[in-house]
Symmetry: C2
Subunit: 344 residues, 2 copies
Amino acid sequence: MSKLALAFDLGGTALRGALVESDGSVVAHASAPTMAGAGSEAVIGQIIALAGDLIAQSPQAEIAGIGVGAPGPLDPKAGIVIAPPTLAGWHDVPLIDILGQHFGLPVRLENDANAAALGEWRFGAGRGSGSLVFVTVSTGIGGGVVADGHIYHGRRGLAAEIGHMTITGEGDRCFCGAVGCFEAVASGTALGRRATRLTAAGDGSQLRRLSNDGDVSARHVVEAAQAGDANALELIEAEARWLGIGFTNLLHLYSPDLIVMGGGLSNGFDLLALSIAAVVQQRAMPAYRDVPIVRAELGDRAGLIGAASLILWEGEPGLALAMAQDDKDSGATADARERGRSPD
Amino acid sequence: MSKLALAFDLGGTALRGALVESDGSVVAHASAPTMAGAGSEAVIGQIIALAGDLIAQSPQAEIAGIGVGAPGPLDPKAGIVIAPPTLAGWHDVPLIDILGQHFGLPVRLENDANAAALGEWRFGAGRGSGSLVFVTVSTGIGGGVVADGHIYHGRRGLAAEIGHMTITGEGDRCFCGAVGCFEAVASGTALGRRATRLTAAGDGSQLRRLSNDGDVSARHVVEAAQAGDANALELIEAEARWLGIGFTNLLHLYSPDLIVMGGGLSNGFDLLALSIAAVVQQRAMPAYRDVPIVRAELGDRAGLIGAASLILWEGEPGLALAMAQDDKDSGATADARERGRSPD
């Protein structure tokens, strides 16, 4: 049996784990509702338990290491989960050290959007490309950039905070306090809010029928637009315009080989794509207009498969893609691994 | 004598050349008005003539190679100047091949903003930092990103087109056709335009006195603000707000160790800095707020010194910083150099 990675995708609602082969195939899968309010020790206990389940499903597996995708902010080089807003009681948790000491295996950590970017790049919509920008559009907007075969990290791993790129002076204030963030105008939340404002409970609109006269969500808009509802199609058009403006910025700033759109709203990608492309044609400088903008392929497994990729890179276990540029840090991590493996 | 680089900064108005030592010091300097309307052969003739002047100034110099900064769009890997708007008759000019064949030396090409970013990173305001974003604010806005010791190129070397990042829905239409480009609201041109609109010929304002009742330029605004003129200070405040919004985006997107502001408007950096910092404090996510934003140090020599850096990197002539990530391309360029050296 070839070497496998244990991969985890630690989200605010679900903790998912898998055993992944070096070709990206998932040989075992398990998940649990994250005990998000119970603090880091409880959740790390869940990770360890899930690892036990997975190993029990595939007892002959030779495990090369553990890759974890977790919500930011986190420091991927130091292996520390800093203060994720969706996980109570996590403050500067040295997750790599903790899991490394428990399992005696190499551990790599990456923020969830970067892990998903890596998954799509290696095994999804970005296979074979030199670089991509992955954009996840759902409750918020997040992103990850792979360039020249590496995750683009920046200082403290904080690059590609694309949801808080200012693209306009209008719209509702973002939770971050600023006005005009990409996320504040183009996320699924923003789309749902616009749909809710456009309609009223009991107005008999298709959007409100779908929402049972409650707040309308992005999912309802996509569903109504697929059925040809005029209100919904207009909302999709406005949404595509904001996405097109943001994507054009990403083309100008990162010049990727392609943009991959994932997240919940990518379920409406077919509805959005033509209008997004029209906005890009109109706004991007000529040299960027032929860059493909495509739908993500791995769905909600992108992060899990990307986390495995942190370990399973070119068949060399432990030599993580994400760190290959930084010899000093690789050394430090190797030291940490040695400590993790020692019997004391 | 240590190895030197021949460096050129090819601009639309001036062609400048220098012999640069590996510590960044300029040992010979020469320049000429660019024959910008005369086509590529004439300008390449100027480069060759200037090289002769420089070599004559320092006949014992052992020249390791030639680094050229030129206006984009250009392809730094292929060594091709694609179609610079400021140079008539340049279309897909294979400048590396042409100069390589003429001189029998390694040649590297980089767009002018990237070259300046590299110069500031190695020898200017970014010395010792792991990464920086260089922003040049003058007639337009350009930029270059150095991360993990490399210029961030993206597809076809087109990354960091930061002047055409949309940051608002308001303001005059950019020459590129879009509304809300960073350049359209925050360049020196935009500042001058706002100053011209705020005043009128013959109104006796300090701005119009400085401009002899003609159009007011950014330089006049800086000069009047330095003298305490209220109009000018208000214009500087508005300018700083736009710069702060754009810089905040750059922090979120690239997460550099610092931002370096160059270009003509950096002459007003002291006036702008506090207000820029206030905008960043207000708009950036907390983890990015402590990133220094500093004034460039190399002035109009940044591009020239950066072009030399393409050759003089860690004392290994020809092993260009900009390409070190890309083994395939380095190989191709080495082949091109071999061809350039061959006697046929």
